[in-house]
């Protein structure tokens, strides 16, 4: 057992992947000597060399485009996008090439590329550094999209994502990089569930709260608060956003009859809508209330001094849970 922050667990997971497979290479801005602005790749260039931990020119399309080329040559590139808001110059390469080449080639070409995106707000940053663009990727067929919420998953899921023969967009809840947990790094991967499974983070009977990434902690806090009011709330850590683990989700909602989805991204057009629509179909007769969503507003991410009013917090989640009981 080692105590690791989520950030250090990411680092350990990357290191393990690089040790296990010489084809794994890391690419991005400042990932080398600096170890990335969040230090997620700290020490890796020193230990694996400049050929495997590549400081790239400042050009995200170039980074993803050359990562695709490296994958075509048999490498397994792991790309770091410095902040959520800077993935868009690479959007074309991701949507038109990374996502589609496997089908275009009728399965002859595999692109095992992982794109790591530190995402979300709550860190007091300037514009473009606090966004949650995950729904823009879940709508793109050919990509897999996941997000980790705790150090153990950070450590395990990044290795599973790298091992996947499909492209994976990997969302890291940057404001949770400093959350700690004890991890058994030895046995963790072997003991872990598959990448695309949703986990019951807290069992409960009265209502289900779905969350992922940064919101899992908030949802668990909300469940604690609800417990004080005598409500037994189940919290699911989605972990996988594309594909969804619909089975686990609807099993829970079929049991509880009430569901709230929380994400930092704007509610409008967010992944919550997709989940709500699916759950409503799957659990129509069991739902006591419509699936409610708590998330960002339909605005650009606001300035740091008011971001706390934008981000879903435990009160807003509790309020939504309460509202499901008002139907």
């Amino acid at each position: 057992m080692t105590t690791l922050t989520l950030g250090k667990a990411m680092n350990a997971g990357l290191r393990a992947a690089m040790e296990n497979d010489p084809k794994v290479v890391i690419m991005g801005e400042d990932v080398g000597r600096l170890g990335g602005v969040f230090r997620i790749t700290d020490g890796l260039q020193k230990d694996f060399g400049e050929d495997r931990v590549i400081d790239t020119p400042l050009a995200e399309s170039g980074i993803v485009g050359t990562a695709i080329g490296l994958a075509l040559r048999g490498y397994r590139p792991v790309v770091e996008i410095q902040f959520d808001g800077f993935v868009f110059p690479a959007f074309d390469q991701i949507v038109s090439q990374l996502a589609k080449m496997h089908m275009r080639s009728q399965g002859l070409v595999r692109l095992p590329v992982v794109i790591r995106i530190p995402y979300g707000g709550g860190i007091g940053a300037v514009e473009h550094h606090s966004e949650s663009p995950e729904a823009l990727f879940t709508h793109v067929a050919g990509l897999r999209v996941v997000s980790c919420a705790n150090p153990l998953d950070a450590y395990v899921m990044i290795q599973q994502a790298i091992a996947s023969d499909d492209p994976v967009i990997f969302f890291e809840p940057k404001r949770r990089y400093y959350e700690k947990a004890d991890i058994d790094t030895e046995g963790a991967v072997a003991a872990a569930p598959p990448l695309h499974t949703t986990r019951v983070a807290r069992p409960g009977t009265d209502a289900t709260v779905l969350a992922y990434g940064s919101m899992v902690k908030t949802a668990l806090q909300a469940a604690e608060a609800a417990a004080e009011d005598g409500r037994d709330v189940e919290v699911l850590d989605l972990r996988t956003l594309s594909p969804l683990d619909v089975e686990t989700i609807s099993a829970s909602v079929n049991r509880t009859g009430r569901c709230v989805i929380a994400h930092e991204a704007p509610v409008f057009g967010g992944i919550g809508g997709e989940i709500a629509a699916r759950i409503t179909e799957a659990c129509f007769y069991r739902l006591e209330a419509p699936v409610l969503r708590v998330g960002g507003y339909a605005t650009p991410y606001p300035p740091a001094r008011i971001e706390e009013h934008y981000l879903p917090d435990l009160d807003r989640i509790c309020d939504a849970v309460d509202r499901t009981f008002a139907y």
Partner: protein, 387 residues
């Protein structure tokens, strides 16, 4: 069904503009074979080419033109959904394609049927995507010829990344090294991706040759809408050499590409080749070039035909007789007939292929939708049967 976007005439009173005047930049052009079929020397690009090789080149040129003609005919007959003609660009493609070693990797656009031919991709295989049967589907690793890329410029970065992989595999540094070639057009040169590819290649000294076929048109836009300077100048700004070659001269294209590939495989890094040529046909079978360019320009370029000059060279130097030319023509006719036959006989894709190869590994949603799709169609079939 195909939308016909070519049904308009030239608006009254308009005067289509012509492309860049090639004569203006003639001095910098590397040429080894004149339009009249005369062999000329260039100090930097010596070329030894046997009679047999010239005949093989001639054969390639004729065959790929025939493939092209046949494809256009098939499109007109509704057998293909679309075709992007290589007419006029045969020399650029056969010359550069033949400069490649089998171990070299090529990244084409959507118009490199000539390169595909040299790399051994069967024209019928190639036409599947133009028929709408699939979206590519030859094995890039088998031919060292990547899939066609339609989004302009994207593939140049893939080529550079692949070349970075070659470096990491330790396969650069001497004559046995590997090199990579990225094809793109004059229009593509404007895309940010292409500049980024230039820059990544320069910074990492990647073994990649950028081969720009400047056919002077990006659909309806002439080169001066894309660039203020000859495109080969672009390279110097990123720190590597650029050269303009007569793109209708198969010898020059071959010699210059070979030299650039050699430099790349030896570790000297990237080079940009601008093959100065002309798109003789429409952009694609959907396009109507009479709306935007003068027939006279096309006529001028007919005099610079890439095949005629090789034929003249062969005849002038008595390296081939009429029997040879007839034989090649016959072979072309047979090839066309086979293509026609096989394209028409191409099996229709099964509807369920929609769900195939979206992912390499199992995917819950795809499986669910595949099952729904099957159930839905089964219910329909049952209904029909019940009637």
């Amino acid at each position: 069904m195909t939308v016909d976007t070519s049904n308009g005439a030239v608006p009254a009173g308009s005067s289509p503009r012509s492309g860049t005047d090639p004569a203006a930049s003639a001095p910098q052009l590397v040429q080894l074979l004149t339009p009249e079929g005369e062999r000329v020397e260039h100090p930097d690009y010596p070329l030894e080419v046997s009679a047999e090789e010239v005949r093989a080149i001639y054969r390639d040129l004729v065959l790929v033109r025939r493939i092209d003609t046949e494809a256009i005919a098939l499109q007109r007959q509704g057998e293909l959904a679309l075709w992007a003609s290589l007419l006029g660009q045969e020399a650029a493609q056969i010359g550069s394609g033949r400069a490649l070693e089998p171990r070299d990797m090529a990244f084409p656009t959507y118009r490199e049927h000539g390169v595909a031919w040299v790399r051994g991709v069967d024209p019928v295989t190639l036409m599947r995507m133009w028929r709408g049967v699939n979206m590519g589907g030859w094995d890039p690793a088998e031919h060292n010829f990547h899939l066609y890329t339609i989004v302009i410029g994207n593939q140049t970065l893939h080529a550079v990344g692949y070349a970075m992989g070659v470096q990491r595999d330790g396969n650069v540094g001497d004559a046995d090294g590997e090199a990579v070639i990225a094809y793109f057009g004059d229009g593509a040169s404007s895309q940010g991706d292409v500049s980024e590819a230039f820059n990544f290649a320069a910074v990492y000294n990647a073994p990649v040759v950028f081969f720009c076929q400047n056919n002077q048109w990006a659909i309806s836009e002439p080169t001066e809408r894309q660039t203020r300077t000859p495109l080969y100048h672009r390279a110097a700004g990123f720190g590597f050499p650029g050269v303009r070659v007569d793109g209708n001269d198969v010898f020059a294209c071959m010699a210059v590409t070979r030299a650039a590939l050699r430099a790349a495989r030896e570790g000297q890094g990237p080079m940009l080749i601008e093959a100065f040529t002309y798109r003789m046909g429409a952009h694609t079978t959907n396009d109507d070039p009479t709306r935007y360019r003068l027939a006279a320009d096309v006529e001028t370029w007919k005099l610079r035909d890439p095949i005629e000059r090789v034929k003249a060279y062969l005849a002038r130097n008595q390296l081939a007789d009429q029997a040879f030319f007839t034989e090649v023509d016959d072979e072309a006719g047979e090839l066309a007939a086979r293509i026609r036959r096989e394209v028409r006989a191409m099996p229709e894709p099964a509807p369920e292929t929609i769900f195939e190869h979206v992912y390499a590994e199992p995917h819950a949603l795809i499986e669910a939708e595949r099952a729904e799709f099957a159930a839905y169609h089964a219910s329909f079939d049952a209904e029909e049967a019940g009637r």
